[in-house]
């Protein structure tokens, strides 16, 4: 054992093993100092998880990216049993849970399955949707102006955009939004029991059944159309359960992520008027806007992260993680690593940008990332063009915060005026 490793262990023995997730301060999205401390002292740390025992948390960009991408660090499966985890029930995204198929297959089949719906998520597909998103955001600002300030930037704006896009991409009716929201909320809940999760998943499946049947007789140019055409080619291409799993995974991953990212980024930026003023000068040039949104994605934490389990021993930097251990991967841990992003806590739109970790790495890296980027670009562009004086309507400490019961966190509502 190297001397450095020995010091790590001595240090962790002396100090108590920290509990994960590392707490954010009240009404704050500032990434906790614990990340900086661990990156220096113990970059692959042992932590207590809320359920099931201890796990490892890497805090440097290098090891977080490596663990996301290493096939030896697989997705957690139902057969792994009572693993160290955040959720009271089963780990979100494991086999047998609603959003299972895409997130948990860790083999060659994964890429084949993913390519079935990938045509709906390409850069050019995202760009084709852009003008529609411009219209939607403008209509939302019209409505906010009609009813006058204050408005709730989450409910009146941020959530509506990805919801509309998702319904159109999938081919599901917008008026049943409440069901998708309720389902996504349960999928990422840390407090719902296994049974509650199953009940909600069954409800969503039963709801989707007639819509998918209709798509089977009359496939459209949307994700359900792509899925039913693939499923018609037989089980080798896609099974019925994979088809349902996909549709549900896209509902689970497709709007909460974007609405939380936008709302959280607005909470951060609207407290820094000089940064908003800079952003206003980056709205016209597509390349500049794209770079600014990368930086906004980098600085915006939205959730506690994603787990992996080591299927073989894995060398992460100085640390050998034995087989069968749970690793917890936070994207903000990597995005705030000052060795990759100097002065990582500062928002700078002129960075010589390294790839951000916000969408993960490896075969499970976000399928919706080009759609998400486009939506966030338009959300910020329309907001600051139409309401250049937008600002928080209450003190940050008065912003209603979400209860600590899902994998994502941040303001529940964001009251703004202009």
């Amino acid at each position: 054992m190297s001397q450095e490793q020995q010091t790590h262990i001595d240090k962790t023995n002396q100090q108590e093993i920290p509990s994960f997730p590392f707490p954010f301060a009240d009404h704050s999205l500032q990434v906790p100092d614990e990340y900086d401390r661990l990156r220096q002292q113990c970059p692959v740390a042992r932590v207590h998880m809320p359920y099931g025992g201890d796990a490892f948390v890497p805090t440097r960009y290098q090891e977080i990216g490596q663990a996301f991408a290493d096939p030896k660090c697989g997705a957690i499966r139902a057969s792994d049993g009572d693993v160290p985890r955040l959720e009271a029930g089963k780990v979100t995204g494991t086999e047998g849970s609603a959003a299972s198929e895409l997130f948990s297959v860790s083999n060659a089949r994964h890429n084949k399955l993913r390519r079935v719906i990938a045509p709906a998520f390409t850069v050019s597909a995202a760009n084709k949707l852009r003008s529609r998103v411009v219209d939607v955001t403008n209509a939302l600002v019209d409505a906010m102006e009609r009813s006058g300030p204050p408005a709730d930037l989450f409910e009146d704006y941020a959530i509506q955009v990805p919801m509309t896009v998702l319904c159109e991409m999938l081919g599901i009716p917008g008026e049943d939004e409440h069901l998708y929201r309720e389902s996504a909320h349960t999928m990422i809940s840390t407090t719902a029991s296994l049974q509650e999760k199953q009940v909600q998943a069954t409800k969503l499946m039963q709801y989707l059944a007639p819509i998918i049947k209709e798509a089977q007789t009359n496939p459209q140019e949307n994700i359900l159309g792509l899925l039913v055409r693939a499923q018609k080619q037989g089980d080798e291409v896609m099974t019925e359960s994979e088809m349902y799993g996909f549709a549900m995974a896209v509902i689970g991953a497709g709007f909460e992520t974007v609405s939380t990212t936008f709302t959280n980024s607005a909470f951060i930026l609207l407290q820094q008027p000089e940064v908003v003023a800079q952003l206003r000068t980056h709205l016209e040039q597509p390349d500049q806007l794209a770079n600014a949104i990368e930086e906004i994605l980098r600085v915006t934490p939205i959730g506690v992260g994603r787990p992996r389990i080591t299927r073989e021993p894995v060398q992460l930097g100085e640390t050998t993680v034995p087989a069968g251990e749970v690793l917890f991967l936070t994207t903000h841990g990597a995005n705030y690593d000052p060795s990759v992003f100097p002065d990582a806590r500062e928002i700078r739109f002129d960075r010589d940008m390294q790839p951000i970790m916000s969408f993960g790495r490896g075969i499970h890296a976000c399928l919706g990332q080009q759609i998400a980027r486009m939506e966030l670009q338009v959300l910020w562009q329309t907001l600051l063009t139409r309401l250049p004086n937008v600002r928080l309507a209450v003190a940050p400490s008065e912003v209603p915060w979400r209860p600590d019961e899902t994998l994502t966190f941040g303001p529940e509502h964001l009251p703004v005026t202009w």
Partner: protein, 80 residues
């Protein structure tokens, strides 16, 4: 510099297209990377390097990294 895209590894993330849209595109049928040029001008070098680094699925293999006299791209569709 030679860059080979091992396409079986491609997860259709589109990241390479964002980095170097004059060089990379995505197949319409499945979102997998395709090349728009096999011998792009050296002006594209920086962007191609960015695409290689940003690819989340390690699709690109770089050879002769220090040979900057030309830039050659190819694809490889063998099962890995």
């Amino acid at each position: 510099m030679k860059v080979t895209a091992l396409r079986n590894r491609c997860i259709a993330s589109g990241t390479c297209v964002l980095a170097a849209k004059a060089v990379f595109s995505q197949r319409e049928s499945d979102g997998v990377v395709e090349l728009l040029q096999e011998h792009p001008s050296l002006e594209q070098l920086q962007k191609v390097r960015q695409a290689v680094a940003a690819c989340p699925s390690q699709v690109f293999v770089v050879e002769e990294e220090d040979n900057l006299s030309e830039l050659t791209l190819s694809t490889n569709d063998e099962e890995m």
